[in-house]
């Protein structure tokens, strides 16, 4: 591990640990929690985009499906929280495996359109299949459940859970990035033909990456439903998928910090700034245009470049 990496990790841990003490109220800590849940979703999407070179517009599927699964099994099947969580993550990951088989028949724009279509199918099902999903009303949970005997009902306790989950996700994805598999995945992104020439099954590498991304998306999905205590078709919607994509692109694809930074900025604009500014959607658009024209690689690589320039 080099010095920059160590500094980065220390900063991440300190920042996450100090937020509950810095933020003025539980309201803001709640927003921070929302941001971190979406940061995990964005990180999982970046496995596909940044490392795998596969841009997906259907990643909200892995947020919504496990969120519905956890809520439904607890509400209607009477499952206790832990089995419900495990089932939800397993179902989300299995959905990713199935959709990977369908989407990986194409590359580039075709891949994008298939993921978009699959996302819309799931959104349509959630919206129309009222008997299962409650349709537009969604499924509401009364309280945040006890998990493993730990009370996570307070905003602070739940923040700690999400922050720890984010750290675990960061460590796992960082590890993936540095592993031989990570090198193979970036190899397939850059030169798929060359990878076959080295004896690799390119499809298999992409499939595993897709499933891995689906797994971490599902973790975000379970955290999402316990965060809002509510899930509706919007969790599966195209705007939700697009937002995740925007977070990755804004923060910087292919970096560990980028998706987290993107998730925080977009959540802050959506929740905090929108209470002061009516046209916050325009503001979001404007932010995006400015960042992309000034730092086409995203904020994190852009700032890194500026710092390197300043040092010289």
């Amino acid at each position: 591990m080099n010095r920059t990496a160590i500094q980065g990790w220390i900063f991440a841990v300190l920042a996450l640990a100090s937020l509950p003490f810095i933020l003025p109220s539980d309201y803001y800590l709640g927003i921070a929690t929302h941001a971190l849940v979406l940061a995990i979703l964005a990180l999982s999407l970046d496995i596909l985009i940044g490392q795998g070179g596969m841009s997906s517009l259907g990643h909200a599927v892995y947020l919504g499906v496990p969120a519905y699964a956890a809520a439904w099994t607890m509400q209607n099947a009477g499952l206790s929280p832990l089995p419900a969580i495990i089932f939800a993550i397993a179902l989300g990951t299995a959905t990713a495996a199935l959709f990977a088989v369908l989407a990986l028949r194409a590359r580039g724009l075709g891949f994008l359109m298939i993921t978009l279509a699959l996302g819309q199918v799931m959104w349509g099902a959630a919206y129309r299949w009222v008997g299962l999903t409650g349709g537009d009303n969604g499924i509401r949970l009364a309280t945040r459940p006890m998990v493993l005997g730990i009370d996570i009902s307070s905003v602070r306790a739940y923040y700690v859970v999400v922050a720890l989950a984010l750290l675990v996700a960061l460590v796992c994805i960082w590890h993936l990035d540095r592993s031989p598999f990570g090198a193979c995945l970036r190899g397939t992104r850059d030169q798929p033909r060359r990878m076959r020439m080295l004896g690799h099954d390119v499809w298999r590498i992409r499939f595993l990456a897709f499933v891995f991304a689906g797994f971490w998306g599902s973790v975000a999905g379970v955290l999402y439903v316990f965060d809002y205590l509510y899930v509706s078709p919007s969790a599966l919607s195209l705007p939700q998928s697009a937002e995740a994509l925007l977070m990755v692109v804004l923060g910087g694809a292919g970096t560990l910090a980028g998706p987290v930074v993107g998730a925080i900025i977009i959540t802050v604009i959506k929740t905090v700034v929108s209470s002061y500014v009516d046209r916050w959607y325009s503001l979001l658009g404007l932010t995006f245009i400015i960042v992309v024209s000034v730092m086409p690689q995203g904020i994190v690589p852009g700032v890194r470049g500026l710092l390197r320039g300043a040092r010289k």
Partner: protein
């Protein structure tokens, strides 16, 4: 008698409708180096591409140490022990030197000769630069990385497509020494080269292609002395 490492028997290859290789046959004996020569467009790279499985030959057989590989997918042909050092090097620019080698390190068994340490021992300059992105290497270093990467899959037959292309003369000499060293260790090599002197100095046998057909074949010394053949098919002398 040496066994045959690679036999190509009467293969025909096509790019779409255009017939590129016409009944090409060649034989590489174990532990030898076969130079595959010819002008631009003679079919040298196409022959390598057909061996690697990029082009499916219509008719004919390709076998590696007696095993048929004609028509297999490239990744399966690699498993049979064939590796390619591609023309223009084609390292993964955004991966580090270490990662470039790591990517090639698949399905290893304990008896394998090549690992990262050994590649670094063979190419000390790669060890110095192991954490650098491959894009930042010089042409010669990228060529060494491409060779090292091919060796990481522990090939029994190594195909090299113009390893001296675009390199400074002293680097060409170094690459030549490396290839000679690999051959000395018993690796069977097919070398495609435009640099005639380099190819003739390294090769045991030579096959010359002209417009997709085998024009001449023989020992390196016989071909080197056959000025008429060299003149007619390669345009030298």
């Amino acid at each position: 008698m040496a066994t045959d490492a690679l036999i190509i028997n009467e293969i025909n290859s096509f790019y779409g409708d255009s017939h590129v290789l016409h009944n090409v046959s060649l034989t590489l004996k174990e532990g030898e180096l076969l130079a595959l020569l010819g002008r631009n467009g003679a079919g040298k790279s196409t022959t390598l591409g057909t061996i690697m499985g990029w082009l499916k030959p219509r008719g004919g057989q390709i076998s590696v140490f007696g095993e048929q590989i004609g028509g297999l997918a490239p990744e399966l042909i690699v498993e049979k022990g064939v590796a390619l050092v591609p023309q223009g090097r084609r390292v993964f620019p955004s991966l580090s030197v270490r990662e470039n080698l790591m990517v090639a390190q698949i399905k290893r068994t304990k008896a394998d000769k090549w690992n990262m340490e050994r590649v670094f021992d063979t190419f000390p300059r790669l060890r110095e630069r192991r954490a650098q992105a491959a894009a930042s290497l010089s042409g010669g270093e990228q060529q060494m990385l491409a060779i090292g990467r091919a060796l990481m899959s522990n090939p029994r037959v190594l195909l090299m497509d113009e390893p001296s292309e675009g390199l400074a003369p002293q680097i060409v000499a170094e690459v030549g020494r490396i290839i000679a060293g690999l051959r000395k260790e018993g690796l069977s090599i097919v070398l495609v080269e435009q640099n005639l002197d380099l190819a003739l100095s390294l090769a045991d046998h030579v096959t010359i292609l002209n417009t997709g057909r085998v024009a001449a074949t023989g020992t390196a010394s016989a071909i080197a002395d056959d000025h008429e053949t060299l003149d007619r098919h390669l345009g030298v002398f």
